[in-house]
């Protein structure tokens, strides 16, 4: 024993592979840090030498330019701040409950009280906070007099808007195309596979140009708009619809709808419980509809009309009022959705086909209905294969949305580019661009990884 230890000690440390590996890693890390530090120093020195100002102070200056599409941005103060605090607290508390339940070897769905607690923590309490503090919530909308920061946030909101909608629509469209490709109908199957091949193999920028300059500019001019009763107006400046304007009854009305959805959730739970206990599912459709229509209608009667409609009217050059959907936004959303849905369709199709045929046959042998075969047996197993590659498609949407600048949509890169030119602060703006896109991508990855972990095969 002692001799063994003695021999061990005699080996000089540079011969020890583990220590050597560590030393290499340290040298590598040191080298990287040195390069990074030198680059930083060099940048500062070069900027200084050329008399170019640096730092982020310029972000407070007045922007002065106009942005075509602005979203209301909540100001982080008063009621909104408390809402965020309540929401974050609720999320952490729910997480703590989940961890605690896991320690006790219980699952969340088996315990009614904890479900209610979680709903209260994440849903009801924050909404109540929002309701109580609703007087002090203020939104700001970008104008020429706003600061560069507000301009950047407006661009960011536009990017997020198109990214989220793009992810949702491309998934739905992808699922439909995938099911179409798997269809036994020869024509549908062929059409869907042409769709995939066509859209997957054309560059996305080209597709955006196609939708924007070729398809959407063919629409009639403002004076020759397609007008359906003042409700639906379409021309080459966009699609105009009436906008709801919130009245005093809006808050209770929204709360009533939220409450109706919570109620529907419990109706579903009851139905599943009855199915498991008695063999017949509880009624879903009628009680749900009654709740969804009845509760808000009751509130409407009591608290007065929640909304009035603001119709778009032709004034001078353009329609004003209402909601407008610009051709830039539409072209970007449609272009990205169509492009990415082709990839999504292939991912979903391969996921479904990867589930062994025996599973399908077994499910049919149990006399499950065809839609139950898909929903209860095939899709849950296919999801495990589908989710990881879908993450990169969602990332692709977020990143490709920066092509917006080519078709005039004021996204984050477009607005940042304008600021870059007005202020000349290239290093800072490029830094902000990189930081923000990295954050968006990491958040998407985080969400998808969490979902992936949730649906993965639980080994017992």
């Amino acid at each position: 024993m002692s001799q063994h230890a003695h021999e061990h000690a005699r080996v000089p440390f540079w011969r020890n592979p583990q220590i050597r590996a560590w030393i290499y890693q340290c040298i590598m890390l040191g080298g990287l840090l040195w390069v990074a530090f030198t680059m930083y120093q060099n940048t500062l020195a070069n900027l200084e030498k050329r008399g170019i100002g640096s730092g982020f102070g310029f972000l407070q200056n007045e922007a002065g330019f106009n942005i075509g599409e602005t979203a209301p941005i909540p100001v982080l103060q008063g009621g909104f701040l408390w809402f965020l605090v309540a929401l974050i607290f609720g999320l952490f508390a729910s997480r703590a409950i989940a961890v605690w339940l896991k320690k006790q070897d219980k699952t969340i769905t088996s315990n009614d009280k904890t479900v209610f607690a979680v709903i209260a923590l994440v849903g009801i309490i924050p909404v109540l906070v929002l309701y109580i503090g609703s007087d002090s919530i203020s939104f700001t909308r970008y104008t020429e007099a706003s600061s560069y920061i507000t301009a950047l946030m407006t661009g960011f909101a536009n990017t997020i808007k198109v990214t989220i909608l793009g992810c949702i629509f491309s998934t739905i469209l992808g699922l439909i195309i995938a099911l179409g490709r798997l269809s036994p109908n020869w024509l549908i199957s062929k059409l869907c596979s042409w769709y995939v091949e066509l859209n997957r193999n054309l560059p996305v920028l080209l597709q955006l140009f196609f939708w924007y300059f070729i398809v959407l500019q063919q629409l009639p001019s403002v004076r020759q708009s397609i007008d359906i009763g003042g409700w639906f107006i379409l021309n080459n400046r966009g699609l105009y619809l009436p906008a709801p304007v919130a009245q005093s009854g809006a808050w209770p009305f929204c709360l009533a709808i939220g409450a109706a959805f919570i109620g529907i959730y419990f109706i579903f739970r009851r139905s599943v419980r009855l199915l498991n206990e008695c063999g017949t599912p509880g009624k879903i459709l009628l009680p749900s509809l009654a709740l969804l229509i009845g509760l808000p209608a009751l509130v409407w009667l009591v608290a007065g009309a929640p909304f009035t409609l603001d119709y778009p009217v032709l004034k001078g050059f353009n329609y004003r009022g209402g909601i407008d959907l610009t051709p830039e936004f539409t072209a970007l959303l449609v272009g990205l959705t169509v492009y990415v849905s082709a990839f999504n369709a292939e991912i979903i199709r391969s996921g479904i086909q990867a589930v062994s045929n025996g599973q399908r046959e077994a499910a049919r042998a149990l006399a499950l209905k065809e839609r139950h075969v898909m929903r209860l047996v095939i899709l849950p197993q296919a999801m495990r294969i589908i989710v990881p590659p879908m993450t990169s498609e969602y990332l692709a949407i977020a990143k490709n949305s920066s092509l917006a600048v080519a078709i005039g949509y004021p996204d984050f890169v477009s607005v940042g580019g304008t600021i870059l030119n007005q202020s000349g602060q290239a290093v800072e703006i490029v830094g902000i661009w990189m930081g923000v896109y990295l954050s968006i991508s990491l958040v998407i990855s985080l969400g998808m990884n969490w979902y992936n972990a949730k649906i993965k095969l639980v080994e017992r």
Partner: protein, 335 residues
């Protein structure tokens, strides 16, 4: 897309050894050619002709500086977003790309503006059929414009000042702005009047569009150099002034050699290097002025050849006439 280029420039800042740029003149002579930043495609200012040569008003001033230093010129086509970083990082020696002189560009960005080569102003182009005759009738209009220029701020300021509203549709490249305006996405196309004239010449039906009489900004366009190399700045400045003074004295590319030998005017003699050491003091040789005028002609020739009434742009001299002819073009004395 173009972002990669901006990125590359930023990385160039990080990697460049701090000791670069000793003297631009030395660099240019050693390299054997001048790197000049211009428009990608802006007829009259910088565009390719049928045989693939770059021609235009801005290009001629690049060629003049090339002749002054006796080297060839290589052109770097740049978008308006890229142009200033390209000069700051040393990718080009001279930026001649309809760049408006402003205070913040002159001070905060490490740049120096040389001589105003064109007194321009931002204008508004609109379809004739709308029947609008003045800019104050444009409340609520949709306006197509290019990002990364003073245009965006001018039009916003103008509408704010007159308490009017507008919706901008902002593109990265001038051809896309033109396409969007031409297909009817916007009511108004705005940029410098000279640029509007150039863009109009490329529309489907140029005669359907009018440029409103109001100018909503002052746009003194000047070639730009980096701040800190005074000798290089002086070379560019006096090269441009030489073309202006040559017009005043009636010197053209045809008669410049004869004038240099035979002129009795002492200022012409000094100006063309026949007497004195004006050009040697600048770091050039005494033949430089004759080379410049022989290659590009005088200021009036440059204007007429690229922008004047006989070109598709059909611009009048206006402010860009000689000072003794009611304009603002005024070269300091050569002595």
């Amino acid at each position: 897309m173009r972002i990669t280029r901006t990125l590359a420039l930023v990385i160039a800042f990080a990697l460049m050894a701090s000791s670069a740029f000793a003297s631009t003149l030395e660099d240019v002579t050693k390299r054997g050619y001048l790197k000049c930043g211009t428009h990608i495609e802006n007829p009259g200012f910088s565009a390719l002709d049928s045989s693939g040569n770059r021609i235009g008003f801005d290009v001629d001033f690049c060629r003049a500086v090339g002749a002054a230093t006796d080297v060839d010129v290589k052109y770097t086509p740049l978008t308006s977003k890229e142009r200033l970083p390209a000069l700051q990082s040393g990718e080009i020696d001279l930026l001649s790309r309809t760049t408006t002189q402003t205070m913040s560009r002159d001070t905060n960005l490490g740049l120096d503006f040389t001589v105003v080569t064109l007194y321009d102003g931002q204008g508004l182009m609109i379809r004739k059929e709308l029947g609008i005759t003045k800019a104050s009738d444009l409340d609520g209009a949709t306006i197509c414009l290019q990002t990364g220029s003073t245009t965006e701020l001018n039009v916003a300021d103008y509408f704010r000042k007159h308490n009017m509203k507008f919706k901008p549709v902002v593109f990265d490249k001038q051809p896309d702005v033109r396409k969007a305006y031409d297909t009817g996405r916007c009511d108004v196309h705005t940029t410098d009047v000279s640029g509007l004239a150039a863009q109009r010449s490329l529309m489907k039906n140029p005669e359907e569009h009018i440029i409103l009489p109001e100018l909503i900004s002052k746009e003194p366009l000047a070639p730009v150099v980096r701040h800190g190399d005074n000798q290089w700045g002086d070379i560019v400045r006096w090269t441009i002034w030489l073309t202006m003074a040559a017009e005043e004295k009636g010197i053209t590319s045809e008669n410049v050699e004869k004038m240099a030998k035979e002129s009795k005017d002492p200022e012409v003699q000094r100006m063309l290097g026949a007497t004195g050491t004006l050009w040697q003091d600048l770091g050039l040789d005494k033949d430089a002025p004759v080379r410049i005028i022989k290659l590009v002609g005088n200021y009036g020739d440059i204007f007429d050849r690229n922008l004047g009434p006989k070109t598709p742009l059909r611009l009048d001299r206006g402010y860009n006439n000689q000072w003794n002819n009611g304009g603002l073009i005024y070269a300091p004395p050569f002595r």
